[in-house]
Symmetry: C2
Subunit: 293 residues, 2 copies
């Protein structure tokens, strides 16, 4: 009895540990049931507003599959008769368009030569014809030609890139410093006559003041960027597709964009430099990317 009595504290201490383990495993098990609600993609504490805003990654379960069903359902319908070509014309036009697009390359060596602003305007007009979820047109194109702003953008992007490269490379760092250097120095950001910063509007503000999530905003704006690339290529201009997402909040502040806008792409635009080079890569063939059923 004396032995049992003296063991009681030990027994209780063990009980303690068991209960703690049970509670801990319970609270762990609960977490996965609400996976998206608290998730944030950007963890860098640049701007509080950007971190607090989760609307862009809310569940997709209740979204319209058919993008136009939303706001368009109440609009009157009008007849639509698009241009129509003969089979020969279609073959010729589609072949020509493919050939033109296939000549496009991502170019990092951009000439400082000026480009008529009216051409850039037409290119952005073309990008603005993209379809979007519920016709929200959730894009803002910030066209920067001001030298001082371009310099600041380059500073922000290169600083972030340098951190990226140094952290990632670790031990390999010293081995090939020279080659790496060319990876985080983005001279084209200073040199190109235009930088187009494409922002996605992750939500809109309703008249009630409430936020309205723009579903599919990233997909919509990316499609719009596809049209932008096609329009640039058609006009004889070059760019390189970059997505400096970590710099997004800083660049948003620099350019005075509101909190519902997030940077998706940064495209330097101009003529190719006369000594421009590109990596000698090939594209997958039609057979590699297509399945016919």
């Amino acid at each position: 009895m004396a032995l049992f009595s003296s063991l009681t504290p030990v027994f209780l201490a063990l009980l303690c540990v068991v209960i703690a383990a049970i509670i801990r495993s319970f609270s762990r098990r609960k977490e996965p049931s609400k996976p998206d609600s608290k998730a944030t993609r950007e963890v860098r504490p640049w701007v509080d507003e950007d971190l607090q805003d989760n609307t862009e990654i809310s569940s997709r379960d209740n979204e319209d599959d058919d993008w136009a069903d939303g706001s368009e359902a109440d609009l009157p319908h009008v007849p639509y008769s698009p241009a129509r070509y003969t089979v020969e014309e279609m073959l010729e036009r589609s072949q020509h368009f493919y050939t033109m697009m296939n000549q496009r390359r991502s170019v990092r060596f951009i000439s400082p030569e000026p480009v008529p602003r009216a051409v850039v305007e037409n290119v952005i007009r073309a990008a603005g014809t993209a379809p979007s979820g519920a016709h929200t047109e959730p894009w803002t194109f910030v066209v920067v030609s001001d030298s001082e702003t371009k310099r600041k953008i380059r500073e922000i992007v290169e600083e972030e890139e340098e951190i990226n490269y140094k952290q990632r490379m670790g031990d390999k760092w010293v081995r090939d410093l020279q080659r790496l250097r060319t990876n985080w120095v983005k001279e084209y950001l200073d040199v190109a006559p235009y930088l187009i910063l494409v922002f996605k509007q992750t939500y809109g503000i309703l008249s009630s003041g409430k936020k309205k999530t723009h579903y599919y905003n990233e997909i919509s704006v990316s499609i719009s960027c596809g049209l932008l690339l096609a329009a640039l290529q058609n006009a004889g201009l070059v760019t390189v597709t970059t997505t400096p997402l970590n710099c997004g909040p800083q660049l948003r502040l620099l350019l005075n964009r509101p909190a519902n806008e997030k940077l998706l792409m940064l495209l330097p635009v101009g003529f190719a430099a006369t000594d421009a080079t590109v990596p000698d890569l090939t594209r997958k063939s039609l057979e590699d990317i297509t399945v016919f059923v």
Copy 2:
């Protein structure tokens, strides 16, 4: 002393509770530091494989901003001299391209008339010229012309749409059944000569058998779809952009696509029906979507 001795179990029990509370709050506080690792976007239990695969939403923190830095860094560079036009030509070309793109509309009334397969092939070739993160070209275009497969696709999509609409509408349901009906019946899925199902490859398989995340795969494939839309419009064909993500796993199985591929878009393709109509909507102006700095 007797009193103190009899209180010891009570004291230990209290200690127990305090320790449990501390451990619990600790394990809670730990969760937000790894927000994305366990998050899944799709919660429908269609296919286990689709649910187990989180690679597409892994953190973006260590990604290249500059898409080509990855696999292209080791390739030799070659000179690049793209087509170059006079200012007048650039203005004319960019204006013409905008006008053509601005005539594009999402069309739900598609003619059953056949379309030459060679034209569809050229359109997909054009889409395949899109840039992609580290030149992974993470897209698969499944082109369906087989009637039976189109019928099955329609069944899957309409069933899912009907659930969506009924669940979403709740009390408003009976009020306007007729109008709603047109929203989940997708006749064009049977009628259009081609359905193009665009899959994004969320990861690749390395020679070691390990998964290699395809960063920016959704953005890359969406850009590619932008080129696809431009190419269709250029050829005089119509489509409507739809994203039946909830049907993705079922359609993936139907079409025998591997687990690393996820449906991003479903585009019915053909000529516009002669009595086609579109909602009478307008687009934002250049001033609404652009900021010049």
